[in-house]
């Protein structure tokens, strides 16, 4: 197969196998409901070979699609017996997700075409200081170092025997996040120190702390403190 056909697409980076497949279907001007599977599979594989020759690391997703296409092609080659006539066209396995993906692409374009807030449409931005005095003055925002300081305090109050406690049942950060979410869903907010009971093992303290950091990163938490030395409280967003 000649390389020329694919060279043109150098500037067009296909994000995934679906984009490549849609490109091939469009290029060959074929009906999506009646894909000439042998032709498309050949071109798809040729494209993969070409990418490989360019020394680009092939994502696994591209290979999965190649396997699917080859499988469908092989099923298309098998003769259909009379009693199997009702069976689904093997190509639906690929047609259905393709159509779903195209629909998503069409709505994504429609969304992009909308009048965007902050780009085409604006609203008044009232001066926050005048309006919500109490909410901003009531709390000060806590930085990473205050959090670490608070954590260190808890760590220091830990009795020595706990520090050499090698517990078997470890908890993952993910599980701890779920636990904290459950507490927050029930109460709405929780005091930082309450998440670190005194009898906790060291690993548990670390996991809890990492869980809190992760939750802040995921925008699940808001951390506030009344006064510079006051209680740190976690709020569920």
């Amino acid at each position: 197969m000649s390389n020329d056909i694919y060279k043109v697409k150098l500037d067009n980076i296909f994000e995934g196998p679906m984009d490549l497949l849609i490109h091939l279907i469009q290029k060959n001007k074929v009906d999506i409901y009646d894909i000439p599977i042998a032709l498309i599979t050949d071109q798809y594989l040729a494209y993969l070979e070409w990418i490989e020759s360019m020394n680009i690391d092939l994502a696994g997703d591209f290979l999965v699609m190649a396997a699917t296409l080859t499988y469908i092609k092989s099923r298309m080659l098998l003769p259909v017996h009379d009693d199997e006539k009702d069976e689904e066209d093997p190509r639906t396995e690929i047609t259905r997700p393709l159509i779903e993906y195209l629909q998503i692409k069409s709505v994504a374009e429609k969304l992009a075409d909308r009048k965007i807030f902050g780009e085409h449409i604006f609203a008044r931005t009232p001066c926050k200081a005048d309006l919500s005095e109490e909410s901003d003055k009531l709390y000060i925002h806590v930085g990473l170092f205050e959090l670490m300081e608070a954590f260190k305090n808890i760590f220091d109050t830990l009795s020595p025997e706990h520090r050499v406690d090698f517990s078997e049942d470890r908890m993952s950060i993910k599980d701890r996040i779920t636990e904290i979410i459950e507490i927050l869903e029930e109460k709405g907010s929780v005091i930082f120190c309450d998440l670190f009971p005194e009898e906790s093992a060291k690993s548990m303290l670390v996991v809890t702390f990492l869980a809190i950091l992760e939750m802040v990163r995921l925008n699940l938490l808001r951390i506030v403190q009344h006064t510079p030395t006051g209680v740190i409280r976690l709020f569920y967003i």
């Binding site: 994504a108 965007i116 925008n219």
Partner: protein, 176 residues
């Protein structure tokens, strides 16, 4: 009274920093009838619409907010330097999947797109367009995603029912 009620609501809408829902207004005005509030809002919407001024009272994200008409964005941008949320094609696609299929887990998003989408979902969460609803009670307890109020505000949508309808896919050759 109704004229007064309308004025009160107008003043609330004027100072509010995010879209005000009729429910929210009701909490501020407990003595007012819910139907009266809605009527007053409708009347205000009509008044601003017929005035054909620089802004309208727009229904967005389940509430109402004064928003400028898109025709005047050019001049507004000379006054303030906005930081518009620019979304890549991939981010828009992922956002569209979440918007139309929510609540949805990551593997279902990736199934539709055919590629890993973890990084994009994280970016969308940082921009507060997508949030975690909870966990699905299946093996692995994957996170469930949904769109936020900010998503509706950004795209000027009243609610999720206001989303554009997907186009029927017929001949692929004329979709570009």
């Amino acid at each position: 009274m109704t004229e007064e009620l309308k004025n009160i609501i107008e003043s609330l809408l004027f100072v509010a920093d995010s879209p005000l829902s009729p429910d929210r207004i009701r909490k501020i005005l407990p003595h007012a009838e819910f139907s009266g509030i809605k009527q007053a809002i409708d009347q205000l919407c009509d008044e601003y619409e017929s005035r054909k001024g620089g802004f309208t009272l727009t229904e967005v994200a389940g509430g109402f907010q004064f928003r400028t008409r898109p025709e005047y964005s050019e001049w507004i941008k000379r006054l303030i330097q906005p930081h518009p949320t620019r979304l890549s094609k991939a981010a828009l696609e992922t956002l569209a999947i979440i918007a139309y299929r929510q609540p949805i887990i990551r593997s279902d998003i990736e199934h539709i797109r055919g590629v890993d989408s973890g990084g994009i979902i994280r970016t969308l969460m940082e921009r507060k367009l997508v949030r975690i609803l909870g966990r699905k009670e299946i093996p692995g307890r994957p996170l469930i995603y949904a769109t936020t109020k900010q998503f509706l505000e950004l795209f000027n949508l009243k609610d999720l029912k206001d989303l554009p309808t997907p186009r029927e896919i017929e001949a692929l050759t004329d979709t570009k």
